[in-house]
Symmetry: C2
Subunit: 204 residues, 2 copies
Amino acid sequence: MNIQKQDILNMETRYRANFINSLGGFKSVVLVGTRSKSGLENLSIFSSLFHLGANPALCGVIVRPDVSERHTLENIEETGCYTLNQILPEFVDAAHHCSARYPREVSEFEASGLTPEYLFDFQAPFVKESHLKFSVELREKHPLAINGTILLIGEIMQVVIPENCLQESGFIDLEQARTVTCSGLDSYHTTQKLVQLPYAKPKF
Amino acid sequence: MNIQKQDILNMETRYRANFINSLGGFKSVVLVGTRSKSGLENLSIFSSLFHLGANPALCGVIVRPDVSERHTLENIEETGCYTLNQILPEFVDAAHHCSARYPREVSEFEASGLTPEYLFDFQAPFVKESHLKFSVELREKHPLAINGTILLIGEIMQVVIPENCLQESGFIDLEQARTVTCSGLDSYHTTQKLVQLPYAKPKF
């Protein structure tokens, strides 16, 4: 079936959010750990993480200016520090709960039952239950006038990785790490490797 | 095991590319179809697609300034039009081949064996073999000085979707659509739904 721009504009708000959020395919989903200058911890779930470059090692996330993500943004602006923690099947429910709208003084660690963990003297908390996680320092902030979202560009500082997931090529076996992926706003999936292909060269 | 920033800087280039590209988790992977003003068709594989907003319906992709993606960028700059086409297991090899570095006059459709398809009088070609695909018009272009990449923001114009994948809530069942996900630079995966969770509300 075909859907046109006008059909999208006419969709009910929640329906459109579900539709457009699932249209782009499976997504990276991570927990973003932060702490305010005054020591308030925050944990938020993001599905807009993307790779930006390997040298320097950069990643981007999009922050919406709404309540649940604003605390994360405020903490990142105050400290320049955040952690990105991958999600395992056994704590998907707790991770999803971090999208609930708590006031800033409530820690989503406490609300979800996940455990803050401080490593490397880094200012932001990691998620102890996560096996594959990394710390990020904010490098650039780009407000996107088109819809009021904000692009945060960060540099990867430290990585915690299970030794048996790192292959000789540098490739990280995310299935061995049991990382989940998501679709839409609320659906979580495990994966099964189909194929790993060699570097593509022109045929002619 | 722990890996520090200096370890990342010391990695061999290809090793680091594999490592950082897989670190962020599973990614959306799509074929980007374009056509130049003079009629040259181009097809490129991207794993940096992310959701930017539902109203207006916006998505972002990051373009690197290197050879294989530059033709895509040139065509988008000339016409403002591109298509995003999800990948099915049966044409993963052909899709991956679109990352090979062909000169601009070679169509990756021909090189890969995939079929260009013109729909809705839209200027850019879709991939006929893809079941779930959408057209995009360029709205903003943000050069990111930090590493010379470019963020393209586009508005979703038309969507082709198998009717049996669209649920009552607006959620698109990507497993029913048989969309694949990727990790790193070269690994492709199918998925299995773990759970779909209700909208998260505060417990207290």
